[in-house]
């Protein structure tokens, strides 16, 4: 998973470099491996290569040499990258985006959220025509495809032509020294939103990135980029193009369940409301499991809103039983599985007095590997909890994601490995009871579910 951001022509008084890093910081949950950004002064990019650094935005941003910041930044583009867990030692700055190329139409750069299934074939075709690649990423393939539209009169046309050829999930922020470009694949897998601040614009994966741009006012959220739409923003203003028909919408439901921050809008929904509805539906399906004396809690922080509404519908209250360490993330920076497990141990602690002898209703948004929740359950039992009932606010995840979520193999999915055997999953995570939300329940929460991708739950891939 990744996060992308881009700005054009932000009002005087805003330090665009800082604003771009702030926005990336707000997207940090979408990728923690590394950060990249590029800035233009209206004539050229102001560094020969994009700024790129491994680590968190809050740590890396100070590496930007402030004195390089020009008096005016016209265009910026930035990216946070998700690091495949367990291989962190292989992280290299070379993998970070935006990806910058010099082509016949001058330099441009791309920041990409999504995945292009089978991009290797496209890459091979280009190589056969003499193209060389300096990375293994699908992003570079898109870049070269754009550059190769030699019958296109200009870069904009080349982008429109090239993107029409790409079958895959992509929310792109592209930048030239004079223009900001945003585009979203015809299926609309990944989010991408547009806002205005004064005369300027900002696009970002999530709308929370619009909220920190300015001390005293938010950027005004305008709308989401449409599936199949390319927005070209330059000194002549904002122009919208449709590079492909969008007949089948496939927005990622897992964004709503887990990934998206609750303080924003995505796919036409308020994300906090979406979580509330998950809690609501969870009551409808499994509320009766919740005895009088049971403690209701969400796995912090991602499931807190779901749990809050679950309790509310029941006329109950959630109780805080886990204390979360604010700086525990850092533990993951060292590689290896041992550290991941230590991570849980060092990240959460239990308030013993609140769980001793109690039945705990533990609500989580989803269950992927199952190792984290198992550790939490063990922790609760070691602290004297009598009985642990786990409610998962989505169905079992049985299929890998081809469109950008870091669940790429069957092996890493507990429900896939255990053949969707709920009892086996329950035994693995060492809970006393385990319930999932039903597929129908999730569809009900979503509403127009035919416009969403549920492939990780039901294996129905669009391609």
């Amino acid at each position: 998973m990744c996060g992308v951001v881009g700005t054009f022509g932000l009002p005087t008084g805003i330090n665009v470099v800082e604003a771009t890093f702030d926005a990336l910081h707000m997207l940090q949950h979408r990728g923690t491996e590394g950060v990249g950004a590029i800035f233009s002064n209206g004539h050229e990019f102001i560094s020969p290569a994009p700024f790129r650094a491994l680590g968190l935005v809050a740590d890396c941003r100070w590496a930007w040499p402030a004195k390089k910041t020009p008096s005016r930044v016209l265009v910026s583009a930035g990216h946070v990258r998700y690091g495949t867990s367990g291989e962190h030692s292989l992280s290299t700055v070379e993998n970070l985006q935006p990806f910058l190329v010099e082509a016949w139409c001058g330099p441009f750069c791309i920041a990409h959220n999504g995945d292009i299934p089978g991009y290797e074939a496209l890459r091979g075709e280009l190589q056969a025509k003499g193209a060389t690649f300096v990375s293994n990423s699908d992003t570079e393939v898109i870049a070269q495809l754009i550059a190769r539209q030699d019958d296109a009169p200009d870069l904009k046309s080349a982008m429109i032509k090239a993107l029409a050829e790409v079958q895959g999930a992509f929310s792109l922020v592209m930048a030239t020294p004079t223009a900001l470009v945003a585009a979203r694949d015809p299926w609309g897998y990944r989010p991408l939103a547009l806002a205005r601040l004064g005369e300027g614009y900002i696009v970002a994966s999530e709308t929370c990135a619009f909220d920190t741009l300015h001390e005293d006012r938010h950027a005004e959220f305008l709308r989401e980029i449409e599936p199949g739409e390319l927005l070209w923003i330059d000194e002549h203003g904002l122009q919208s193009y449709r590079f492909a028909e969008s007949t089948l919408h496939q927005s990622c439901v897992f964004e709503g369940i887990y990934y998206a921050r609750p303080d924003g809008q995505m796919f036409g929904r308020a994300m906090d409301e979406f979580r509330e509805k998950l809690g609501h539906q969870l009551v409808a399906e499994h509320g009766r499991l919740c005895d009088e004396g049971a403690v209701i809690t969400g796995v912090p922080d991602s499931s807190s809103l779901i749990a809050e509404n679950f309790a509310k519908v029941l006329g109950r209250q959630t109780e805080i039983i886990f204390v979360r360490h604010h700086n525990a993330e850092r533990t993951f920076i060292q590689p290896g599985e041992k550290n991941r497990e230590n991570g849980v141990r060092l990240k959460f602690n239990v308030i013993r007095r609140r769980v001793v002898g109690k039945t705990i209703i533990m609500i989580d948004d989803s269950l992927v590997r199952g190792t984290t929740i198992r550790r939490l359950i063990r922790m609760l039992k070691r602290n004297g909890a009598a009985r642990i009932i786990v409610l998962i606010a989505s169905p079992p995840i049985c299929h890998p994601c081809r469109y950008g979520i870091d669940m790429k193999t069957y092996e890493q999915l507990l429900a896939a490995v255990l053949g969707s055997d709920i009892e086996a999953i329950r035994a693995f995570i060492e809970a006393d009871e385990l319930r999932y939300l039903s597929m129908e329940g999730l569809e009900r929460v979503v509403g127009d579910h035919e416009n969403f991708c549920f492939a990780c739950f039901n294996g129905k891939y669009a391609f």
Copy 2:
């Protein structure tokens, strides 16, 4: 503020270096400027100087050269230090503890939580007798005072004699190559707790540090070190000495209100229960302000438990309206006030849909400078909140702390600067209403309040 930890003779199978860093990580909230630790193999300290590094435990601990860890660590001592805000650029590794000296009785080291008011006089006396100091810390004064007990037969006696001479707040963890020592001033200002794991012992500022020592079992909390008590733990076991009469107990009430993590015990109390009672008392005093449609929320995370119980007593529920960024702390690492303010902006965001047009009951544990809450209030208003009622779960802080909390001058205390004028404070923080808990209410929550120090509220200093 600081946190201290020490271990002796932990069972085989535990990597004591890792366990010590884990424990320090659990005390991270007590100090984020830097970390120090020392380890003994039973014969000598295994590094010529203590390990010391500026930054968070999770970041710094990797700097310890793992290959240096001997097969057995008998004694360890560690410290996290609080950095005085705004002067972070002056942080130097030299200030970090434990402080190690070589004296007639061999090497020993000290990690200190607390403050010795007027230690400069004591330092001057020692200098006049020929002592040299390599730092400005009160900790070094204690070390030299111990070394100077030349009529004491051994280090233990010297410590007992020396500590009797010190008037101040100190919870100390001291280590020699063969013994772990814990001591607490006769007033008991700062916490210090003892636990056992197998045949071994661990002492720490807070009991949450006992919970991560071992994968499968907690260290067993035994008791707190008594005011005026010195514990000497070596291969002959644990011995307790009383180095001074303890006629006046002065445990710091602010630890309970704000500092202490809720997942532990301190001053004979469960800290989560203490916070619950604050919520309870807050209802008793100001519950009527809470209209039907009002949103009840605590400033995350420190006030969440207070707010939870406040709502519960009213038969209501708290609502999540702030999204807290998990990696925002890092922002503070850069120096200066501007960054502190940015910190709030980048740390919290508001879920707009949940506050628009609403009355917000915002509960905070205490109000020191008032700048953070003002920024949150502005953020709520910018998101459309109709009315903001702030309830503070403690009385106005009008006096600096002499005993270890980083509130050292009147200038930095909003209530002191504004002469306890509640209306002026309300105007400053830009709330619509502001209520504090009464002094009597706080005393009722505390119970045996004569054993506690309330100096920051009432100016009654023991010395």
Copy 3:
């Protein structure tokens, strides 16, 4: 200027990673800005991107993660890059080589010594055909030109075809996972030599790189790569191809005068002997200036051999008057002209007793900017030298180099700026007398001078 190195199939028992860094260390004088290297295990390159680091080999090499070194390294390629002085702050790791691309024929990488005049045109042509570039270097142009030979049956043929199209100075080391390739432009501007060690091969810019490969034996110098030759070395052995006619040889005479280390062979000559002859010729032309009591000295270390032979022919001896600091180079790591001047001050000191009242015959190989020698002359005068006669063992440098030496503009050449006015140059450097070697004298030293490029002296560029 740069240095390149490559190895293939070095004998078991040699750590190829270490050996490659050792060889690059020996070429350090050819470039101090940064280092790059890549290694193959016989199947693939063992890191996703080349190792690249700014700084000296001796400093950077430790950044290579030793545990990454596989049990066998089949192919290696490395590069040291010259940093344009004064702009060191603009150094970025992105500029470092080898340059790695993935093409239809798989991955290959290029390390390049030399310059391609007018490569921008070639780059534009490729861009017009849809190529994208990620750097501004001529090296990437060569890489893409190779990849674009779509009618070539394999990479080897593509290289041979592509290099035939390039008009420029290039000594290339290229690597694939299974083959080492060395090639030299048809004019032979830059050196490139081949050696054998056991069954393996090594190519390098200078033969001194062959001397440190093995504790107990040197690699055996076989020959230089011929102008217009491409060597392909793989498991089937060494094959030689001629990719272009080589009718005009243009070996760089400045390599012999200044750049090349004296402990090697280049362009069919022993470099120490070449310097001896320069000293010899200098006597022939200016020996009479050397009075009885004059002190003969060379500017250390580059001119020491010239001075030694100058003295010898006269039946005299050089005298040590400058003490050179061994670690002064580091001073240049900070950017800017001020530091360059400080560099001289901190790098050399004068043994006062040996120069007071004396006439100094100061021999230097060449005179480019004149600032360093002026500073040395001032230093001598401040120490009481009576008279300073400067003898330059080459003619005035009046023209920039187009073929790889870092003398790219007229402005930086003192003789060009002062219109070859020897008296003006003498005044600028503050010497009492100044003599250059004549053009004829230099030609005599060179011997077959029609095979050499003297463009920096006479402005006769081949293209």
Copy 4:
């Protein structure tokens, strides 16, 4: 070995911080483990702790935060420390000097060159009186001894009293915020020199440190500090005190043979002249070994002057056969013996053509471990040298040094291990012949040899 430097009241226009680092850079050969420095603005030291950093001056100095430099620096003191080879991994910044203490007389700091044999006893005595130590260094013992002169009226008197009690080798630079102090032990083991620049003063271990202070003029060398003398320099000028009788002078002859740079004065001698005389005497004793066709060379750079004069007396010339790498020192920064050996391999290369079939007269100043010269000899033989005659310009080193040179055990001295058996030493270093200078010869070179310490040659220790 170490180097010390101090300045007082340097003229306006000189950046004292830069000047102090420059001076330390000139003393780099006396210690490469780390650097320390402290600066006063005339009222207080301008950093709470001395600047200290591991590594070379040229690398470390940039870590000084330039913005901290005040407009005026009144006093500075600096130190370069020698790192015991092979244990480099144990280097810690804690060992670096100057050592700063706060005493009754205010803060002062000490930078020390030399060794105090048996300082542990003195340390024990102080500890018995209640002193605590934070390091194991003899320097801290001196500091505390000074602080403990409680009947002294002021710091100056305390220094004078305390130093009279110390039996050992010490050249000290001490600083207070308002005064610079220089002192030398009564035996005068280590050098310490004084110079003036304008109204200001500078003291340093070697006079070469005076030569880089100012662009256009040297500091004027005034004299050496006398054995048993303490110089106190403050705003009232320079005052000289004699803290002890100096009846037996014991200047270290090894400084003259090896350590001291040749571009300076020490112990009343010009160091280049001293080296010339060694060459002269070497001819007298072994000149007949030098056949007509033999190549005379010195091991660069330390023996170059000896070899130059050896050749000159014989009417011959030295020849350059070794090429020394300018950045090879860095190799030693990684720990361990293997790297030390690699160091030689990467530091020197041989110009083969100049040694093939030749007899080499290889002159070295001294022979300590013998491993470096053995490696050079092997290198010469591998390059075809016919016969290697080694001439050592000093007698066999058979005894450790107690006074500051890093030859502290018999085990590390080849001549001691082999019982002064010259034939065995020759065999070990693999030379064809080996000759040492005689003890009488060395005494003749020295002149007033009764004023010098020859203990490493003859075992006659003063204490």
